[in-house]
């Protein structure tokens, strides 16, 4: 059973390493959008590693049971599903409140799209054929 404990310890170590990278990325990146990149990805995988690692680690000890692993897996899946949504909400709110991109950014297609949409809204008779709803059962 000690192999399980070793695997769990290794997973927790890897997870904390990614936590460290996530914090370092927050310091090193130039603007809010790039910071969200590092913070979201590394923190999510770091959490997965630590949480599932604890579950496997507990299997290898004498007080542990399978309940540890199933609970940690439920928590890990919950984190995996909700973390990107919160990141998406934060980055979208940052964009909507007018935080500029870093000066090294090469393109901003979203602004072009919003401007094109605002223009289409002012002259509705041109764009109306495009607006037909697309959902209709293909299956």
């Amino acid at each position: 059973m000690n192999a399980l404990a070793a695997v769990g310890e290794a997973l927790v170590l890897i997870g904390t390493f990614f936590y460290f990278l996530s914090a370092l990325g927050l310091i090193r990146m130039p603007d809010v959008y790039n910071r969200m990149q590092t913070a979201t990805k590394s923190a999510t995988l770091g959490s997965l590693g630590v949480i599932v690692g604890v579950g496997i680690w507990a299997l290898g000890t004498d007080f542990g049971s399978a309940a540890w692993l199933t609970k940690t897996i439920v928590i890990a899946v919950f984190l995996l599903l909700t973390n990107p949504i919160s990141a998406h909400a934060l980055i979208r709110a940052a964009y909507k409140s007018g935080i500029p991109l870093w000066e090294g950014s090469v393109m901003d297609k979203y602004r072009e799209h919003m401007e094109a949409k605002a223009k289409a809204a002012e002259a509705p008779e041109v764009e109306t054929p495009e607006e037909t709803p697309k959902e209709g059962g293909e299956e």
Binding site: P30, D31, Y33, I85, M107, E135
Partner: protein
């Protein structure tokens, strides 16, 4: 995608809730199973209308098989993403060339679009900024050369091939 019947959506919600109960309690004691089933039935009665639109069709064997195959594929992409981020953070020159790019998707269902947006956020160098019908606006940490063209179609094609296409072949089957 049309809506499934009420009973099918209700049963699907019960099954999902009961699975979560099973994992959370991690016990096969008949009393716990019975109580979990009762709770699932009650909670599902309140929530099935907003939980799912396609009901038991989600449990089609082909969809389940693709969903299971998607898990290791996605975890692998996620580990590569983190190594990529690690490289960009630790490299002394900080090699980033960010930009907001425009992608299109072939997915139709709302759940599929949500899954695709989540997958994009957790994989190499990309994070979803906004979704508008089938247009995805994605903040990319390193915009490659082939996506730097002025022409809109070429740009969308290159960006979609890089970002959305690898997941769509799975998500198209899983969510339609």
């Amino acid at each position: 995608m049309g809506e499934a019947s009420k009973i099918s959506r209700y049963l699907y919600t019960v099954i999902v809730l009961f699975l979560i109960w099973l994992l959370l309690t991690a016990s096969l004691d008949p009393q716990e199973l019975g109580f979990g089933l009762i709770l699932s039935l009650i909670v599902a009665a309140f929530t099935y209308e907003i939980f799912t639109t396609s009901g038991l069709a989600n449990l089609h064997p082909k969809r389940v098989a693709y969903a299971i195959a998607y898990v290791p594929y996605f975890l692998w992409a996620m580990i590569m993403a983190n190594l990529d981020v690690a490289y960009r953070v630790l490299h002394p020159k900080r090699p980033i060339r960010p930009g907001i790019v425009h992608c299109k998707t072939v997915l139709n269902s709302d759940v599929g679009k949500l899954a695709l947006a989540n997958s994009i956020t957790l994989t190499p160098g990309t994070i979803t900024l906004d979704v508008d019908d089938d247009n995805y606006f994605i903040h990319w940490i390193w915009v490659p050369d082939e996506a730097l063209t002025e022409k809109e179609e070429e740009h969308v094609k290159a960006a979609s091939a890089n970002i959305t296409a690898p997941f769509e072949k799975f998500l198209k089957v899983i969510f339609g």
